[in-house]
């Protein structure tokens, strides 16, 4: 299992990483600190099984990343979980309209964050059956 976490804030990213590690997901994690890096990794590296995406990102926003993922035939099936601070109905609306698979608010405090990390682990990793990621070369071979 591979999980790509897109989070610009070092502290948030570190806390989230610790929470995910505490949830036992340390081996699967890779990180991107902005939207551009995220898109670059998604397009040029083996696709992850799950994308944890913040919306407020420098340079290329989370919205653009989501839109880019859903427009990419190779990535369009990738499960995307939005984890952000924004309570804005606009953002929530946008996310689901672009077929995000879940929308969560970043909780305050490590315990709550751990709870979120465990919920992700329990549902997406242990319970849900996800599609096989499509390898970049596979697409080239097919194309």
């Amino acid at each position: 299992m591979r999980i790509l976490v897109v989070e610009d804030l070092g502290a948030d990213a570190l806390l989230f990483r610790e929470a995910l590690r505490d949830a036992g997901l340390a081996q699967s994690l890779s990180f991107a600190t902005d939207g551009a890096e995220a898109l670059d990794k998604l397009r040029n590296e083996p696709a992850p099984d799950l994308l944890l995406l913040d919306l407020d990102l420098p340079r290329v926003s989370g919205r653009e990343v989501l839109d880019g993922v859903r427009r990419d035939p190779r990535l369009r099936m990738l499960p995307v979980v939005i984890i952000t601070t924004s309570p804005s109905p606009d953002d929530i609306h946008f996310a689901y309209e672009h077929h995000a698979n879940a929308y969560m608010r970043k909780p305050n405090g490590y315990l709550a964050l751990s709870g979120v990390a465990e919920a992700i682990r329990d549902f997406w990793i242990r319970t849900a059956i996800l599609p096989q990621p499509v390898h970049p070369q596979a697409r080239l071979a097919n194309g």
Partner: protein
């Protein structure tokens, strides 16, 4: 300010005064000249009238003189025929009888009596003979004679190489009748009189314009010297009179005519005399008025100039005020924008570092509790409390700013439903404190559902919170219609409120108790006040009737226009 600065109004006023004065001066000079000429012409008219009146006397003397000459020339011719040789007493008596004279006498060139009719006084012709020799004709003053006074006349007639004088005497009445007829045309002027007065002041004849008999002439007329040809005298009624005198040739007599100046000047008096003066007076008044008007107009124009100046300056001030208002508006918009910016900063930028602190302090607690010393564990707890408190403050500030920023969406709000929601939200706190929330039937009010919910939530939470230790909190929500408004009351059994602090608790961050006693941010009631104010109502807190405190919220009917107390009589159906 410079010392010789003159206010524009003052300058205008002075200019107006100067112009008005100049105008008045010129007008006064013009009027004066006119008046002087009028006076001169009127005085000239009077002098003319007088001289015309005087000339009547002269004309009368000439007329009488010519009549005398005619009469006495015939007498002289008769005398030359009849008394050139020997003159007898008898002849003269016949002559006197035929000519109806009192007596007749013939004198020599030297005045010697040659002959005389009977009754001739010895001094006959004494006063007239010499003049008759020189002039050919002479008439005497009134002479007193036995019987009646007479007037003697002497006429010169030639005899051979010398002359003789015929002297005849006629009674006064003969002359009077003749003279009256001659004087009559002299006095056409009303009140005018004419007299013939002899050299000794005796009045020989007199006529009056409007009287049958003339009054006795005044002494001035009788005694005046012949050279005093004209003048004025005061009449009996104090009226001014004019007189003129003319010497009657060949006699010591003189004609005196007199008339009241009132009558004499009539052609140059009355309307024709005063009307020009009235016109001049009116002109003067008009000029004064015009000058006044000019002055006032100039002063007014000065005032208008000043008023304009004021108007302009007030307009300038208005423009400045406008600019200031625009600036204030811009300021306000900017401060609103800043508020929104603050809300964003608080919700996003501030919460991110806070989240980090909260996160790592908890991480510390989770990973290292019991592995450091006891102090470290306590420090971590303090850190977490501080973070929690800061989070609440930020959340409350956000809520406060949201009340301000969010547009009200008025709708019918069932307060009963709202209270149920509030109880659901507060369930953890209610459970924690084992509190009781009760309510009377509540009305449907018109307002912003979210804000009214927040209002009730804050008030109920407040009511539960400020409770003495060991007391189970009880919060009761009730409502009553107060005519034009609804009053919603939240009553608790808490620690109550000091009336002195009743208004201050609605201020932002105002706390009556330490955060350790009763945790809170001091923003909750400020939010309540803001919500009520936005709904046009009033909120206050008072000590409750049975301890505790009661918060009353009055919502005016303008806001709660469609209010109805649906559950007022729940048992009715």
């Amino acid at each position: 300010m410079s010392g010789d600065y003159q206010h524009p109004a003052e300058r205008q006023r002075r200019r107006g005064n100067a112009l008005a004065l100049a105008f008045l001066a010129i007008a006064a000079i013009g009027l004066g000249v006119g008046a002087w000429q009028l006076a001169r012409s009127q005085s000239h008219d009077r002098a003319d009238l007088r001289s015309r009146y005087s000339s009547r006397a002269t004309v009368a003397t000439a007329l009488i003189d010519s009549l005398f000459r005619l009469a006495y020339t015939q007498q002289g011719q008769q005398a030359a025929q009849r008394f050139s040789g020997h003159v007898t007493r008898k002849g003269l008596a016949a002559y006197a009888k035929r000519n109806q004279v009192s007596y007749a006498a013939v004198l020599s060139q030297t005045g010697q009596l040659i002959a005389a009719s009977p009754g001739t006084p010895p001094d006959a012709g004494k006063t007239v003979a010499a003049r008759a020799v020189a002039k050919g004709l002479a008439v005497s003053d009134l002479l007193r004679r036995p019987g009646a006074p007479v007037i003697e006349s002497a006429v010169r007639y030639p005899v051979a190489k010398h002359v003789r004088i015929l002297v005849t005497a006629s009674p006064q009445k003969v002359y009077t009748a003749f003279l009256n007829g001659s004087l009559r045309p002299l006095v056409p002027v009303e009140g005018g009189d004419a007299y013939m007065i002899d050299g000794r002041g005796m009045v020989l004849a007199g006529v009056s314009a409007n009287r049958k008999r003339p009054p006795t002439p005044s002494a001035k007329l009788v005694k005046g010297s012949a050279t005093d040809r004209s003048g004025f005298f005061d009449g009996r009624e104090g009226e001014q009179n004019y007189f003129a005198r003319a010497q009657q040739p060949q006699t010591p007599w003189r004609i005196v005519i007199s008339a009241p100046t009132r009558s004499l000047y009539r052609p140059a008096s009355g309307v024709s005399r005063w009307l020009p003066w009235v016109v001049i007076g009116l002109l003067g008044a008009a000029l004064l008025a015009i000058a006044g008007l000019v002055r006032r107009a100039l002063a007014a124009s000065g005032e208008i100039a000043v008023a304009n100046e004021r108007l302009e300056s007030s307009q300038a001030r208005l423009r400045e005020t406008n600019v200031e208002l625009l600036q204030a508006n811009t300021e306000l918009q900017r401060s609103n924008a800043e508020l929104e910016q603050f809300a964003y900063v608080a919700s996003h930028d501030l919460s991110a570092p806070l989240r980090a602190v909260a996160g790592f302090s908890q991480l510390l607690a989770v990973r290292y509790r019991g592995r450091l010393d006891a102090n470290a564990d306590q420090f971590i707890d303090h850190m977490q409390e501080g973070v929690d408190r800061m989070q609440r403050i930020i959340d409350d500030l956000l809520a406060y700013s949201r009340v301000e920023r969010t547009a009200l969406t008025p709708e019918d709000v069932e307060l009963d439903t709202v209270l149920e929601e509030v109880q659901r939200v507060l369930k953890p706190e209610i459970a924690e404190r084992d509190a009781t929330i009760t309510s009377d039937p509540l009305p449907v009010v018109r307002g912003d559902r979210g804000q009214l919910a927040q209002l009730l939530q804050n008030l109920v939470a407040n009511g539960m919170k400020f409770c003495a230790p060991g007391v189970t909190p009880h919060v009761h929500v009730s409502a009553e219609s107060r005519g034009a408004s609804w009053r919603v009351m939240v009553t608790d059994n808490g620690i109550g409120i000091d009336p002195d602090h009743a208004t201050r608790v609605f201020e932002m961050f105002h706390r009556l108790h330490s955060a350790d006693e009763y945790p809170g941010t001091g923003i909750g009631l400020a939010i309540c006040k803001k919500i009520v104010e936005r709904h046009g109502g009033e909120i206050k807190i008072e000590p409750g009737p049975e301890g505790g405190s009661v918060v009353t919220v009055d919502l005016p009917s303008g806001v709660a226009r469609k209010l109805r107390l649906e559950h007022q009589e729940p048992a009715a159906t």
